[in-house]
């Protein structure tokens, strides 16, 4: 990709504009193709989450690499039934992740409480605690479904300016 323009009539200002717009795209391309995800398997969805990183679904071809530390992760996959006790931990982990950060909610339980919605100890959806970008339905979703969720997240990242992306968990100071 070159900064030069073939149009002889273009002024200096136009060239600068051309450069900024492309830089944003370039950075977004880098971001969307190196999405590292925080492992947060809570229940049976965690098993499908492992397959998501395994050889058949192979999300490493999209540049997604599992990280065990929130400080190295770009997004978080909440996979499984979130209890109130765990919801506080989920929020803590989310707060430790560097900006810009995203959340995929995987499976019925983390979408809305699912099968255990009427349980006294179950959080009625991870979006009561964290801002969710992509909801993946299913009980549990197949690795292919989660891969599609990842591709949707890539589309989202491609379409937004990276520098203005700042959010905080509900109730925490940004």
């Amino acid at each position: 990709m070159t900064g030069r323009t073939m149009d002889a009539g273009a002024g200096a200002g136009d060239v600068t504009l051309f450069h900024t717009s492309q830089l944003d795209k370039l950075i977004n391309m880098a971001r969307e193709n190196s999405l590292w995800y925080l492992l947060f398997g809570l229940a049976c969805c965690g098993i499908e989450l492992m397959q998501f990183g395994g050889p058949r679904a192979d999300v490493m071809r999209f540049g997604a690499i599992p990280r065990a530390s929130p400080r190295q992760a770009d997004f978080m996959i909440v996979a499984g039934t979130l209890t109130y006790k765990m919801a506080e931990r989920a929020k803590l982990l989310y707060d430790q992740m560097p900006e810009p950060k995203y959340v995929i909610s995987m499976g019925s339980c983390s979408n809305c409480g699912g099968l255990f919605q009427l349980g006294y100890s179950v959080c009625k959806g991870v979006d009561k605690v964290l801002p969710v970008d992509v909801y993946v339905p299913g009980c549990p979703p197949r690795p292919e479904a989660l891969t599609e969720g990842l591709i949707r997240l890539q589309e989202l990242i491609r379409s937004e300016p990276w520098s203005t992306k700042r959010r905080a968990a509900k109730g925490s100071v940004a």
């Binding site: 919801a87 506080e88 809305c112 100890s121 959080c123 959806g125 009561k128």
Partner: protein, 190 residues
């Protein structure tokens, strides 16, 4: 040894403090006196010929109509391949019983679980804390009259119909996007 034979030996040793053996629906059980539970358990665990060395389960039942909480002990002997179930009936208003942690170590966590979910106090327990729910949880959820206390630490426990809620969230997002677009255009025009 059959359950009846175990019960007979128990009856011979403790007399009236051990109730009659129930009809064997799944596991025949005997209701025993609250005050003598530790003695009875130690007898069953140590007596040659009985040696019920494994506490399979310790759990509880809530009977609001009878105003009772029953604590249930499932005992098993690995050596003799026999088993028996004991029940103790407690007052529902202030359920309390002596711990059997000194007889079987595994009772420690079972009793914490029963304390957590039913609110039964085990006297003499070395570490009677909640084991599953958070320490600041209010109430004991497996009691029949348990009422949820609207969420936990500010997390709401109400969920709307997803169709209604998602539409509302979508509208909010659209309004925000429209506002943001207006905000960028505003200074540029001025």
């Amino acid at each position: 040894m059959t359950t009846t034979e175990i019960h007979d030996r128990l009856k011979a040793r403790f007399g009236e403090d051990v109730g009659p053996l129930s009809e064997p629906k799944i596991d025949a059980f005997a209701v025993v006196k609250r005050e003598r539970i530790v003695e009875i358990c130690r007898f069953l665990a140590k007596e040659p010929g009985l040696e019920l060395d494994f506490l399979e389960d310790l759990t509880a039942l809530d009977w609001p109509k009878n105003n009772q909480i029953e604590v249930v002990y499932h005992l098993l002997s690995y050596r003799h391949r026999h088993s028996i179930v004991l029940k103790v009936q407690l007052d529902r208003a202030a359920p309390s019983i002596a711990t059997v942690e000194g007889v079987w170590k595994t009772a420690n966590w079972f009793e914490r679980e029963v304390y957590d979910l039913f609110g039964v106090t085990f006297e003499g327990h070395p570490d009677l804390r909640r084991i599953m729910l958070p320490d600041d949880w209010i109430g004991h959820p497996l009691r029949k009259d348990y009422q949820e206390t609207g969420g936990y630490h500010g997390f709401s426990n109400v969920r709307e119909n997803p169709l209604v809620e998602l539409k509302r969230l979508d509208d909010v997002r659209r309004a925000e996007a429209a506002n943001a677009a207006g905000g960028v255009d505003g200074p540029a025009k001025a």
